[in-house]
Symmetry: C2
Subunit: 353 residues, 2 copies
Amino acid sequence: MKKILLIEDNPDMRENTAETLELAGYSVVTAENGRRGVEEAKKQVPDLILCDIMMPELDGYGVLHMLGRNPATAEIPFIFLSAKAERGDVRKGMELGADDYLTKPFEENELLNAVETRMKRSDLFRKGFDRGSSGFGVFLEQARGIDVLKDIGNGRKNRQFYKKDVLFHEGDEMRQVPYIISGKVRTFMVNNDGKEFVTGLHGEGDFVGYMGLLESGLATETAEAMEDTTVSLIPREDLLALLYKDRDVSIQFIKMLAHNVKEKEQHLLQLAYASVRQRVAQALLRIHSRFAGKNDEDLGVRISRDDLAAIVGTATESLIRCLSDLKDEGLIATQGRDIHIIDHNSLLKLASR
Amino acid sequence: MKKILLIEDNPDMRENTAETLELAGYSVVTAENGRRGVEEAKKQVPDLILCDIMMPELDGYGVLHMLGRNPATAEIPFIFLSAKAERGDVRKGMELGADDYLTKPFEENELLNAVETRMKRSDLFRKGFDRGSSGFGVFLEQARGIDVLKDIGNGRKNRQFYKKDVLFHEGDEMRQVPYIISGKVRTFMVNNDGKEFVTGLHGEGDFVGYMGLLESGLATETAEAMEDTTVSLIPREDLLALLYKDRDVSIQFIKMLAHNVKEKEQHLLQLAYASVRQRVAQALLRIHSRFAGKNDEDLGVRISRDDLAAIVGTATESLIRCLSDLKDEGLIATQGRDIHIIDHNSLLKLASR
DNA sequence: CGACCTATTGATCGGACTCAAGGTTGGTGG
DNA sequence: CCACCAACCTTGAGTCCGATCAATAGGTCG
């Protein structure tokens, strides 16, 4: 059950509001002044905070300010309750970062609407949407339920790509972002000798190339279908509007990108000093956990040796030699182009030695 | 001169408001309904938009929605003007992403305050703050002028680190973020053989390690002073509050991070397939442009060979051999530990071959 | 001036790249 | 249904780049 913290000094007002919320199925914690409110917020970490502005001890934006300084409470949706006379103050509050405000006296359904809207949105971002692009797909799935975001996903143009078709080239202007409905796509960069380096593998539910969109509006890499793939093309504007207009989305993006940077840095470290053997092990595990995590145990990964080599960053022959070794040692098995991981632990040990 | 677009159907209201703004030194463009407003916004790209809600042709949030779909106009600060009766609608507008609202009738100074606040903030983000961490320092400098951000930079604890001192270790909890006042700091990761790989060089005006803060709250790398360095320790809460509470800051961060990811990807490509020679050339140019861009021509970079090797991702001896070669070929010159770039062009050609 | 640290050069060795030449697989058309 | 072609996979041999170990030169700081 969702927990709401209500900070309000007027006893009648407090009782009434709390009752309304409880009837609507929320668990309500109350505080009779700002200081107690902050204490409760830190102790209880509620899902949403309703807060009066004019209060003894510590006023409303005192509360907001205090909570904003603590990461644990900074992300809690915060709604001001303000009497009409405090109109100018509300503006100040919004600037401080409140999510919404309600002018007293308010209707029951005004209150519940505001609360529910915020809850729904906040919910969305608690779940998933952290681990790289895969979570981002889930995010969009959920986003459809939300009013503000409902446009995304409508007015789509679906499109089919066959194996080896190019979705977009490095340097293309990103007028839309492909969202993968089925199939697999790899993104890669090409160096001056024409060698490819794979920067990402994308499956069902992933966006492709949004990084370029954010960075410069131009694709930073080439995207190519690894098998027959159906994508939906989301207009650039929709994604940008979502990003620019919604604080929560922005913050999730920041976390996601920061995570991405960290991963790339680790990859750099690996590439700099690890042997091909270690890098192959690492790459196998990555791909495995990315794509084969659905079935039971014996999960094969089907990938061309050339592609795998481009992921590891080595020559195809070196890669194959390494695979042969691993096969001889019983860590993996191959069936045609499929690669099965037999000894997950040893592989892991090898990868991080 | 700052340009403001005023969208308002009531002629009196429009005249009065425009006059007030013009007296305050703004250039004002007016539109008498929503549709014309959108057209003007696209054509003129003003610095700020004031918009009535109830209008013929296209209402206020129709306007906001339209503008939100276009990247060029999505970032323009948007302030609603609403009559009291439209109270419920304003909330809806805020959810759609407006930056502020003014309830009619409003005082002159209410209007000007709201406009000025938004302008100031928007200004901040137009300038710089794009290119990696260096711009971020500038950003903070400017941020001091802004009300909402004034806390950051106050209550600082300055601290002195000597050469080789460690600011924080990989895995440390980031309770504060160092902001470099003078000196140089390198951040690096260590692989399992104990080899270091430098992920970043930071100078005056840079933040160090904010990536870890964003990602998990733990440092993802170790930071060490390369020379005697004075830093100011910004409390984590201040930086996070800034980020969480301000839309503009969030968006700038997203761009910065996306840029960062792109750079790392290019670095990966390089590391995967380029020879030590090419990587050395690249690294020299990077460091040069990062640190030596201040004086005139003959700008030496002072860096230990070990550090340089850790940046390139190679053994110290290999690096030195390569430097010797470059010196013989007349591309660079050395004076003690300083490295001077002689033939910038050839080096560039070498780096990107 | 001596101890210590950093830079440089030399010699050796191994991993990984390249080129070359068979095998396999899968798809296509007769 | 089979034969053939093309693309892909695999193995071998030779070569070279870069890591490592070792030793010497140069600078710096007490």
